[in-house]
Amino acid sequence: MATVTIRNLVKRYREAEVLHGINLDIADGEFVVLVGPSGCGKSTTLRMIAGLEDISGGEVLIGDRVVNQLEPKERNIAMVFQNYAIYPHMTIYKNISFGLRTARLPAAEKDRRIRAVAEQLELTPYLDRKPGQLSGGQRQRVAIGRAIIRDPAVFLFDEPLSNLDAQLRAQTRLEIKKLHQRLGSTIIFVTHDQVEAMTLADRIVIMRDGHIQQIGTPTEVYDHPANTFVARFIGSPSMNLLPGAVTADGGLALDGNGPIAHPAARGLAPGSRVLLGVRADDLRVQSHTGATDKAPGLQLSGRVSVVEPLGPDMLVYLDAGLDAGTQQVIAKADTRQTLRPGDEVTLTAAPETLHLFDEQSGKAVAV
């Protein structure tokens, strides 16, 4: 078990810089998830920690040891790959034993450990089989078995679930979380799936184009996104972002809509362009038009365009009548409400659920 510290980490492929000096402190036993869109540098970061990729600049520390120059095997890490990387010509037993190849242990002890790990992962019946005879989920467990048998200081996972179907993915996700609770080891987990990130992580690291956008607990990044990128990336459906401007009296006016009070707007110069963020869950849909009583917060009128039932609730896509034509807004509504495409509705949101971003920089405006 160990901490992992990343200082000003830079990666260059020839001329192209793909990681621009990132910093990250991971506590001992923490479960950290790197998340971001394709090509943002998650795998590159992970592979530099693993020692599979040269470090162009900065430092990686495992424990208090700088490991920049160390071979992967000297770093005391284990890694699980997206395509499992278990050897097709070896039995499951042999595959798991590969994790112990270099360990100086008596053969009997190795055997005992292999069987114990297999038992833990419910792989005992398959020990004599070849990977070709296993399902995707079982193969992934073999890969995990090969990793945990070494009892490494840090586990690295690179999109280990993306080759599994939805149900198996949720199940394996749970197993990984339990594994973490049982072993208590440091885990760095890469995914581009924000749901996976939210459910697994102690802390989420959101990356984009080789920069870290925000680091925080799932609740922090969900409730207080640092910028519009994080706001859109975390949470499903994406946060609605509505353009507007700060008014002379320190309020806020959406383009083509009445003023709303927002505490954060007071810190901005009148006329500043802003984006008002509101999550679908925080929007209330009222199926009658016209102004309701003047409650503080957001009030929007719109027309329902599409309704997507999700079971307990439904997603309502609305064309809100804002200045520059119509703007699509997504809201969540109770299925008991009867809403049809074409219905005129009013959307409201409480002031404390509104997020404010600077339109230019995309940065969140602090209250």
Binding site: E71, I77, A85, H89, R146
Partner: protein, 298 residues
């Protein structure tokens, strides 16, 4: 006709077209391969000599083979080509491919250097090597040997060395092809297998033995079979590098194919030549089947 075709099901139509296209090579094969093979098998039971009509002699040609010293010498030579040539050429090709695969600098250029001999006429290459084996002022190889203070070698003129001297250019010529195939096989192994091995701290040699080679098995089967067949049929190099194309000295380099050629077109003993051909055919068949079985199993 059209009416009939339209009544076929989808599956049947597919089969119809498949067989139509397959028919061309099958007919061609029947005419150019199967018919002559069967014909040759028949001739091997006659004493046909091109001039007179052959008459049936039963197994006489095959009996003669058993007591023919030259045949046994030639048979042994043929296997020597295989037994020495196969491991040497495969090892060389694999080592070259293994390292070339890791080289980025001038990769294409180096690869073509290995491949060019494969594209060059065997006859021209055989003669170049033949000159190279000459005594000192003429022969490059002996020149090099003496310049580094080693004694000159007789090479093609020594019954003990000639076979290896002939085998060398044959291996050299096939190397480029084997290297290309090996590299394709190596490339097909996912990089993550090696990365996982690095993380587990598996050494280079262990990685080679336990990961690379087993995963390369299909490629190995392919190359072993092709190379074996090639070596068992060696001819061009021997014909062009030995005096009068006789496979000398003292039949030291003569392979089965050359012996068949001589029996047929120097001695005009067609019956005996085809009998030997049948033996070669059987040997090739059996060896190929054994190799396929050995390397596919497990």
């Amino acid at each position: 006709m059209k009416h009939l075709y339209n009544r076929l099901s989808f599956q049947q139509k597919k089969a119809y077209w498949a067989w139509l296209f397959l028919a061309v090579p099958i007919l061609f094969f029947a005419a150019v391969r199967f018919y002559p093979t069967i014909n040759a098998a028949m001739i091997s039971f006659t004493d046909w000599n091109l001039l007179t009509e052959g008459k049936w002699v039963g197994l006489a040609n095959y009996e003669r083979m058993f007591t023919d010293k030259v045949f046994w010498k030639v048979f042994a030579n043929t296997f020597l080509y295989l037994i020495v040539g196969l491991p040497v050429s495969l090892t060389l090709a694999f080592v070259v491919a293994y390292y070339l695969d890791q080289v980025r600098f001038m990769h294409g250029f180096i690869r073509s250097l290995y491949f060019i001999p494969y594209l060059t006429t065997a006859v021209a290459m055989a003669w170049v090597w033949r000159w190279g084996y000459q005594p000192a002022p003429m022969g490059v190889i002996n020149q090099i040997l003496s310049s580094i203070g080693m004694p000159q070698q007789p090479f093609l003129r020594s019954p003990n060395q000639a076979l290896y001297a002939v085998l060398a250019p044959a291996i050299w010529a096939g190397l480029g092809f084997q290297v290309i195939i090996f590299m394709a096989g190596l490339r097909a192994i996912p990089e993550t297998y090696y990365e996982a091995a690095r993380i587990d701290g598996i050494g280079k040699l262990a990685t080679l033995w336990e990961i690379t080679l087993p995963l390369l098995r299909p490629t190995l089967v392919f190359i072993v079979v092709l190379t074996s067949i090639g070596l068992l049929r060696i001819f061009d190099q021997v014909y062009n590098m030995t005096v009068d194309g006789q496979g000398g000295p003292l039949n030291a380099t003569r392979p089965l194919v050359l012996n068949i050629y001589n029996t047929a077109f120097k001695d005009f003993d067609m019956g005996y030549a085809t009998a030997q051909t049948m033996v070669l055919f059987l040997v090739l068949l059996i060896i190929t089947l054994i190799q396929l079985r050995l390397m596919r199993s497990k």
